[in-house]
């Protein structure tokens, strides 16, 4: 028992493997108890979680802001869509097909992210925000210029094999999609958690805290910034690919500027720099809107005012929440939980990031 406890505190990897196993078990139980529609919502949650986790590492750990992460998700989504269409047309089937497409989506996005990172490494503060904002606006509109390949706003259909027969005939497509998506998210969290506690993670933090000091210590500041962008993009690309599989469609409407802003604010609301915070953030993104719309429905107003509230209230509450978090809870939801005695010791500087 003592040796186990020792292993727990000494080996980061062992700890994360155990947490990953707990996460997998939790996902299996959760998706089995949920209805198909809630499984579908969970599947979209998993896709957004991948991207938010990647963004929280880039911004919280490395200090680079990105307003173009939705565009990076789009790169992953279209890569997966084109590959899946290719496999489907060629009649290729097998359990490896989808993982290969998703990994390719993440890899292509990582390369694109590294290219963006080269530019980003030269830019600071508002200039970086502006450059990534331009990326977020420009990239989706490429799809409407090359309509023969990307089919404009209609987007591409994403064929994929349903749940394997071994899971039984009552295993629904939505259940399968929620597995794919949440397992992908768990893998991203696992990978990023290890990265955070590795030398690379320490370098990222060092660069965030003081670029000059890091350079004096012999670190290559641009290289670390590019690394951070590539890693974060890979997570976003995987999230985008998963979203395309969940929606069975890759279209520019899924990856607009609003999504980029939503991802960043979700990371902030959850707790910037913490992976647990990314989980909170994605829950807020997916469920806040549904929750508010349901409460509006309970009011039984006229159809016109209900429609108006449905359109505007979630955004208003979301904005208000962001302001409140910035003012009162700079550590986000995760920072708040840490202050509660039940959930562990108080750590006052959320900006240095915790590990989760």
């Amino acid at each position: 028992m003592r040796r186990l406890a020792h292993l727990w505190s000494a080996s980061t990897l062992a700890r994360h493997v155990v947490l990953l196993a707990i996460g997998v078990a939790f996902v299996i139980v959760l998706t089995a108890t949920f209805s198909d529609f809630h499984d579908f919502q969970l599947a979209t949650l998993g896709a957004y979680l991948c991207a938010i986790a990647g963004l929280t590492v880039l911004t919280g750990l490395n200090g680079q802001v990105s307003l173009g992460h939705a565009a990076l998700m789009a790169i992953g989504a279209y890569t997966v869509a084109l590959l899946q269409m290719h496999f489907s047309n060629a009649g290729t089937t097998g359990v490896w097909v989808l993982p290969v497409s998703l990994l390719a989506g993440a890899a292509v996005t990582a390369v694109a992210g590294a290219v963006v990172g080269v530019a980003a490494a030269r830019l600071r503060g508002p200039y970086l925000a502006g450059a990534t904002l331009a990326l977020g606006v420009a990239l989706p509109s490429i799809t409407s210029h090359y309509t023969s390949v990307f089919k404009g706003d209609q987007g591409l259909f994403v064929p994929f094999d349903g749940p394997p027969a071994s899971l039984g005939s009552t295993f629904t497509l939505e259940h399968w999609q929620s597995w794919l998506s949440l397992f992908a998210a768990l893998l991203v969290l696992f990978f990023l958690a290890n990265l955070k506690r590795s030398a690379v993670g320490r370098h990222m933090r060092a660069v965030r805290d003081d670029e000059i000091a890091s350079a004096l210590c012999g670190l290559s500041v641009p290289r670390i910034q590019i690394q951070a962008f590539a890693v974060s993009s890979a997570a976003a690309g995987l999230g985008g690919g998963v979203l395309a599989v969940v929606l069975q469609n890759a279209s520019p409407g899924s990856f607009d500027l609003v999504l980029s802003l939503t991802l960043l604010s979700a990371a902030v609301i959850g707790g910037l720099g913490t992976l647990t915070g990314a989980v909170w953030g994605s829950i807020v993104v997916i469920y806040l809107g549904t929750f508010i719309r349901d409460r509006v429905n309970d009011l039984h107003l006229s159809a016109a005012s209900t429609a108006k509230l449905h359109d505007n209230l979630p955004n208003a509450v979301y904005g208000l929440m962001l302001i409140l978090v910035m003012l009162a809870l700079p550590g986000g939801i995760q920072g708040l939980l840490r202050r509660l005695p039940v959930f562990g010791t108080h750590r006052s500087t959320p900006h240095t990031g915790g590990s989760a």
Binding site: A5, W8, S9, R15, L19, I22, F26, L30, A32, T33, F34, S35, D36, F37, H38, F40, L42, T44, S141, S144, T147, K151, G152, D153, Q154, G155, F157, P159, G162, T170, T172, L173, E174, H175, L247, Q248, N249, S251, P252, G253, S254, T276, V279, W280, I283, Y287, T290, A307, H310, D311, Q334, L337, R338, V342, F343, G344, T345, S355, A356
Partner: protein, 432 residues
């Protein structure tokens, strides 16, 4: 050790809180017992006294002007029918979800309607790009998907999508009939197309080429609904010397095209497909410029003109509009919604007292529906497309007037043929 404990508790916190947050809205999973194809005996959303239908509509976004009135008109006609006893003793309710003409939102909305609200069928879901994104989901869940509000030919694939049906004439048919008018009346002029950058524009342009010959179009310009700057495209039409432009556009982009052309001092003959030519809707964009800009514009119609108050169907729909639709300005969209609702009621009635998803699909495949439409429906087991033709109309003084015969044709290379039979008068009580 402190660190370890904190880590542990953080994980527990996440798991516990996730379970609490999500568990609040969970419901028990039920193994779905849907059968297959027309033998499907399941009937979710149907009780002894009610039928729940669902639809996704652009109540906001680039296609909302005009189209947002369609679902209100459908609901109004169902309310009118319910007041008259409903269909086979059941009252029809329509649940409308707004997708903002964004395929991603349509994907979520459609799943909410089918998986969460358990609607019996989808009816009149609007939009080519939007509904294309959910065809496979609908097929997997075997939901009857009646009368998609779009003229894409995708809805007519009975083997691939056995439960999906179109309603309005497809854009290829429209393209052929409009192309025929162009051929006869604007011979020798340079013809081009301006279309939406998806199946809507592609199918339409293909129809025009089927009549005029492939390669006959000088240029095919396209737009995306999310980008309202059409200056480059209209400039390209002008530069190419296009004298006749056939437009496959939603109303907002018809208005943008006409307005931009006027701003560029570019005079050309515009031919606009049915869905983009509703005069009341266009007036909402063009205001006082409507009459001069629309003067001489050619379009087509597959139902009576909304201003034809001598028509029994128009009289019926105007009455329902006044009683159940808050007297919405009566236009092509209100007419569309009510006519589509009427066909839906016919299909539900024909499906019989023991209503199942299978019996509804079988009833539509059996066909034989009538209504205000100028041409017969094509519904059969091997054909899931709706109205088979249109009549050309020309706009003068802000009013559309039919000209020439009503044509039907196929979406291939078949010739146009004239329809001589008149549609029946509207039933006195408005119920099929």
């Amino acid at each position: 050790m402190m660190v370890t404990r904190r880590r542990c508790s953080a994980v527990i916190a996440v798991i516990a809180a996730t379970a609490l947050t999500l568990g609040a809205c969970s419901s028990s999973k039920k193994a779905s017992s849907t059968g297959g194809g027309s033998g499907d005996t399941s009937a979710p959303g149907v009780t002894a006294t009610s039928i729940l239908l669902g639809t996704t509509q652009p109540l906001t976004g680039p296609a909302a002007p005009g189209y947002s009135k369609i679902s209100a008109a459908m609901s109004a006609y169902f309310a009118y029918a319910n007041a008259g006893g409903g269909v086979n003793g059941r009252k029809v309710t329509l649940k409308v979800l707004d997708d903002g003409y964004n395929p991603t939102t349509t994907a979520t909305d459609t799943r909410e309607l089918v998986l969460q609200d358990k609607v019996f069928a989808l009816v009149g879901a609007l939009g080519t790009p939007t509904h294309t994104a959910v065809l496979d989901f609908i097929k997997q869940n075997k939901v009857p998907d009646l009368f998609v509000s779009s003229g894409s030919r995708s809805w007519n694939q009975p083997t691939k999508y056995p439960t999906t049906f179109g309603w309005q004439p497809d854009y290829t048919i429209e393209g052929k009939i409009l192309g025929d008018y162009v051929k006869k009346n604007f011979a020798g002029k340079t013809v081009c197309t301006f279309g939406q950058g998806d199946d809507f524009g592609t199918d339409g342009a293909q129809g025009v080429e089927l009549t005029l010959g492939s390669g006959s179009l000088k240029t095919k310009q396209t737009y995306t609904p999310t980008n309202t700057n059409v200056g480059p495209q209209i400039g390209a039409l002008k530069a190419a010397g296009c004298q006749v432009n056939v437009a496959f556009t939603v109303p907002g982009f018809t208005a943008l095209a006409l307005g931009t052309a006027a701003a560029l001092k570019y005079q050309a003959q515009w031919v606009v497909s049915n869905v983009g030519s509703d005069i009341v809707t266009l007036t909402g964009f063009l205001k006082t410029a409507t009459k001069p800009l629309l003067e001489g514009v050619v379009s087509d119609a597959y139902a009576p003109i909304p201003t034809d108050t001598s028509n029994s169907w128009i009289q019926l729909f105007q009455k329902v509009d006044a009683q159940y639709d808050n007297n919405a300005p009566f236009d092509g969209n209100v007419l569309y919604g009510m006519a589509l609702a009427y066909t839906t009621l016919q299909a539900l009635k024909a499906a019989g007292k023991t209503l199942t998803r299978g019996s509804l699909v079988a009833a539509v495949e059996k066909g034989g529906f009538t209504g205000p439409g100028l041409t017969p429906f094509r519904f059969s087991a091997t054909d899931h497309s709706g109205y088979s033709g249109t009549q050309v109309v020309v706009i003068h003084g802000g009013v559309a007037a039919p000209t020439g015969p009503v044509y039907t044709t196929d979406d291939g290379s078949g010739a146009l043929s004239t329809v001589s039979t008149q549609p029946p008068s509207a039933p006195a009580n408005g119920l099929p």
